[in-house]
């Protein structure tokens, strides 16, 4: 009985509901309709043509005519919401009460919607790549730079002011040292992004994948107060929050394979990625007839992954973790010992990042951890070094108005360094059993840093960033204050002048504190003065930049030959001019020329005169060109020529009767130079498809002209003969095939 009633009700409901199928027509159903009419006005009270008015939840409505007038009929009754919209205007809604037969007149006054300018202002000495149109270099261009092996750092050295350390990925910028360059990924500091770091005659490689980066911002000087504890340059990298290319990708390269995979959930809220690689260098050495004496053959491997979660439209949580390790043994013939230089290293890095906020206020927070262990062995030298870093950082950015934008942040960084081993007493006596001493040091410090900066857009032509930062170092009980100012002035269409001035500090590496008097090292300091001009026609079809800089260095770490301790009495300067000329048309070609002139001098030891800094490369010229022969085939060439690196010559010898060997008598530090360095690389890349899947093939010829560039000098046992050690980077063929699986 109960069910019969329910069935009866459902049938009635069903019949009632089927009526909309036949259309709601006021005439056939004889329901009286209401007429709604009115005017829509836009800015300055002008009538708005083409505005749309609709009853929420229905398709009843109309468009306004050229007089702003609209009218329509509806059979809806009761409380309804009327919505008015128009292109470039903000939506407006009004509540109305509809009673049959009672016509309504209602007017709207719409306000213009704010046009947000996507323009990102590029400050002095900055090379950026990302999603804005102010791009200097795209990830694709980086990957295609010949001789770079898709290595981000090597591609950056083709820009003016940057040079490679030993043809590897480690870079030095504008006459500074390699450790003056700070790498940041998603706010976490990466102190060991290289493999084969500091290894004898081995070029380093970086472990950062350029394809995973959505933003690359390289500042070769004058960078903002956001980044502390760096003297010369900052490489600020931002990764994609969610995986971009889903699926499995396999790379078969002559130096070894790598595999990567990414997954994105159906609702796009969860992303996972995994990547692993390992080198197998036997085929590479065989093909290139490389007879370097290795024992063992260099080996590098890595594995890493990410987990991402999308909290909201602008909110993300991302965990990134990776491991990389290397091992190598390479023969080194030095005056006192002929044997294998062996080393191995392990690196762990992880970063948990949170981003959240709205379009006007944004928070980025990161908790990162890294561990680095390196062991080295050569003759009597045998040591192990362990570095631990951990950092908690938060940055908030807030738009006060279209003209003012504020940034502030705080960070706490923990740094521990443990060094132990046997070190030769005399650097010229390395053989096993030579006089040595045991070293064991364990240093810990924390650095607390904070900054505040403001971006002002004074007018369409003038933009400036003013900021200040402070850093406290607990081990040396030092505190620094760094004010920084950056200016951009648009003198005319396509013509920009940029300038920057700022104070920069960097605390010396923990290892130096072990050899000081009571950890009393001051932070190293540099003052940057930069002024430059840029012409940018047609958004990159012609880009020309020239920039002059002067860096005043003080409190540099200095070695006292008398006390065998480190102090910060060093000083120096670096000055020069960088010139950059680039032209590119998307999908047709990309080419750039960089030239830099550098004069960088330092006092390296106590009571010593100013001499060339280690990377005082006077002239450096780079050319990179990439051309799309067809839509699928790209050819590239790069060429670099530069002044030789400075080195310290040996001017004589002295026979040490107690040690029973010759000891060198050195000339003035860094007073001589290697011969001119030059190298040309070519590459060919072909994109095709196999079984409907994406594939890419690469052939490159590095050091095409087989230039015998110098890695260093060594001597015979009595230092009467100078012997050349050539770089292991002879003419090299590389092949690679990438497949989407």
């Amino acid at each position: 009985m109960k069910y019969l009633i329910i069935i009866h009700c459902l049938i009635v409901l069903l019949l009632l509901n089927l009526s909309p199928v036949y259309g709601q027509n006021a005439d056939t159903l004889n329901i009286s309709s209401v007429k709604i009419s009115g005017k829509v006005l836009g800015e300055k009270q002008k009538p708005l043509y083409g505005a749309n008015i609709v009853i929420e939840g229905s398709i009843d409505g109309a468009t306004s005519d050229s007089a702003g007038y609209f009218e329509f009929e509806t059979t809806k009754t009761g409380r309804q919401i009327l919505i008015a919209t128009s292109i470039d205007y903000k939506e407006q809604s009004r509540e109305i009460r509809l009673e049959p037969g009672k016509n309504i007149e209602i007017n709207f006054q719409l306000a213009r919607s704010e046009v947000s300018t996507e323009e990102i202002i590029v400050t002095a000495s900055t090379y950026t790549s990302g999603q804005s149109s102010e791009v200097t270099l795209t990830p694709l261009e980086i990957v295609r730079v010949p001789g770079s092996d898709a290595d981000l750092y090597r591609a950056i050295t083709t820009f003016p002011g940057s040079n490679q350390v030993d043809e590897g990925s480690k870079i030095t910028v504008r006459g500074g040292d390699a450790d003056e360059v700070l790498t940041i990924i998603d706010q976490a500091s990466v102190y060991n992004p290289f493999l084969f770091d500091d290894d004898y005659n081995t070029s380093t490689f970086s472990t950062i994948d350029p394809w995973g980066l959505r933003g690359i911002n390289f500042s070769s000087g004058g960078f903002s107060a956001k980044w502390g504890n760096a003297l010369s340059a900052v490489l600020d990298l931002k990764s994609y929050e969610m995986p971009q290319l889903v699926g499995l990708f396999l790379w078969l390269g002559l130096t070894g394979p790598s595999i990567s995979g990414a997954y994105l959930s159906k609702d796009k809220k969860i992303g996972l990625s995994l990547e692993a690689s390992r080198t197998f260098l036997e085929p590479f050495f065989k093909l290139n007839k490389d007879n370097t004496d290795f024992s063992p053959i260099p080996l590098a491997q890595g594995i890493g992954g990410t987990v991402s979660y999308k909290l909201s439209k602008l909110g993300f949580l991302k965990l990134y973790a990776d491991y990389s390790g290397d091992k190598i043994g390479i023969r080194n013939t030095s005056p006192s010992y002929d044997g294998y230089f062996k080393s191995n290293s392990d690196n762990y890095f992880s970063n948990l990042k949170l981003s959240a906020g709205s379009n006007s206020t944004y928070l980025d927070a990161s908790l990162s951890f890294s561990y680095h262990k390196k062991e080295m062995d050569y003759g009597v030298l045998n040591d192990a070094e362990k570095d631990i870093y951990s950092k908690l950082r938060a940055d908030i950015s807030h738009s006060v108005s279209k003209l003012i934008h504020l940034n502030t942040g705080l960070e706490y960084e923990y740094d521990g360094n443990r060094f132990s081993g046997t070190v030769p007493i005399f650097p010229y006596d390395m053989k096993p059993g030579a006089p040595s001493y045991g070293v064991s040091s364990n240093k810990i410090t924390a650095r607390i840093g904070g900054y505040f900066e403001s971006e002002f857009r004074f007018s369409k032509k003038f933009f400036s960033i003013a900021g200040i930062r402070t850093d406290v170092h607990t081990l040396s009980k030092q505190i620094t204050f760094d004010p920084r100012l950056s200016l951009v002035y648009k003198i005319a269409k396509d013509n920009v002048i940029r300038g920057a001035i700022g104070l920069y500090h960097q605390y010396p590496e923990l290892l130096y504190y072990a050899q000081t008097q009571s950890n009393s090292l001051k932070p190293e300091q540099a003052i940057h003065y930069i002024l430059g001009y840029e012409l940018n026609k047609l958004n990159g079809v012609l880009l020309f930049r020239v920039e002059a800089y002067y860096k005043d260095y003080r409190s540099l770490v200095l070695y006292d030959n008398n006390s065998f301790l480190y102090n910060t009495n060093g000083s120096g300067y670096a000055r020069g001019v960088d010139v950059f000329l680039k032209s590119s048309i998307v999908n047709k070609y990309t080419a750039w020329i960089s030239y830099s002139y550098t004069d960088s001098k330092r006092r390296q030891f106590n009571s010593a005169p100013l001499t060339s800094a280690d990377y005082d490369i006077t002239h450096s010229l780079s050319f990179v060109g990439s051309y799309n022969i067809t839509d699928n085939l790209t050819a590239g060439i790069s060429y670099k020529i530069s002044t030789g690196k400075p080195y310290t010559p040996v001017e004589g010898n002295y026979y040490d009767t107690t040690l029973n060997l010759y000891t060198p008598i050195y000339g003035v530090y860094n007073s001589d130079r290697f011969p001119v360095y030059q190298r040309m690389d070519v590459t060919l890349q072909y994109v095709f498809s196999i079984f409907g899947r994406f594939a890419v093939g690469v052939i490159s010829l590095d050091n095409v002209l087989n230039n015998r560039n110098l890695y260093g000098y060594t001597y015979n046992s009595d230092y009467t003969q100078k012997l050349k050690i050539y770089s292991t980077n002879k003419r090299i063929v590389y092949l690679g095939l990438g497949l989407q699986i």
């Binding site: 459902l10 609709v54 009853i55 929420e56 047609l538």
Partner: protein, 259 residues
């Protein structure tokens, strides 16, 4: 129990009835709006096009397949940009082009595998040359991105070839474009249209007359007037009201005949 299953059956029917009635509301509204837009567009009637745009915009209220409705709104804005182009009104060309691109971005954000949206993006980005040619590399990059995505999603969509062809047709010959370069693309589009079946009535179905018309334009440029006439007639057979063939192609043809 039998009564219980009858209840469940009726409830299903009721729910089905409710949703299908909304669906019918939606399809009917789309089909009407499409028809109104087409007839206004064929006559380059700006007023009619704006009214049709309003119809589409109101369909958003039904909250069904909004990515499809945004596509149509972008399509109307793109068509409106061509109407204001006649008077070289740069501000309005920019207004309609940017509105169209924003709507297409909204559509692909909601449904990223709707090839038609990428095909339309390929076309709309072309307008930017008129008011911001200095953003050259960005225009090229966005066009290429849309082209790659569209091709990956639906390599046999005839509209892909119509737009690719039109982009190439209007590229100067010195850069590898022109009528003869673009012709194979229009031929492919025309061929693909012959057996084309759209997913359903609410999906975009434009372009058949465009492919015939563009082939005629290619032949006109190459002085092959008989072939041109053949495709003009074919185009009018496909769509007797085709504004493109009647107002654009025929005018070109008549001008050529006079010479």
């Amino acid at each position: 129990m039998k009564s219980k299953s009858v209840i469940y059956f009726l409830m299903l029917f009721l729910i089905g009835g409710i949703s299908s009635s909304y669906a019918d509301d939606f399809s009917d509204a789309i089909l009407k709006a499409k028809k109104d837009f087409k007839s206004a567009n064929d006559k380059s009637d700006q007023d009619g096009m704006i009214k049709a745009r309003g119809e589409f915009e109101r369909i958003l209220q039904l909250k069904k397949n909004q990515w499809l409705v945004d596509y149509y709104l972008a399509d109307v804005d793109f068509a409106l940009s061509y109407v204001v182009m006649q008077s070289n009104d740069k501000d309005n060309i920019k207004k309609y082009t940017e509105s169209s691109l924003q709507l297409l971005d909204k559509s692909t954000d909601m449904k990223d595998d709707f090839a038609e949206a990428y095909i339309l993006k390929m076309a709309v980005n072309g307008n930017r040359w008129m008011y911001e040619p200095d953003k050259m590399n960005d225009i090229l990059a966005k066009t290429n991105e849309a082209t790659d995505k569209a091709k990956k999603l639906e390599p046999d969509n005839p509209r892909f070839y119509v737009i690719s062809g039109m982009n190439l047709y209007y590229t100067p010959e010195t850069f590898g474009g022109g009528a003869s370069a673009a012709q194979p693309l229009f031929e492919k589009a025309y061929e693909l249209f012959q057996n084309r079946k759209e997913k359903d009535d609410t999906y975009p179905s434009w372009g058949y007359d465009l492919s015939a018309g563009m082939l005629a334009m290619c032949y006109i440029k190459q002085d092959k007037l008989d072939d041109a006439k053949k495709y003009i007639d074919k185009g009018l057979e496909i769509d007797p009201e085709s504004g493109f063939i009647l107002n654009v192609v025929k005018k070109d043809y008549d001008d050529k005949i006079k010479k």
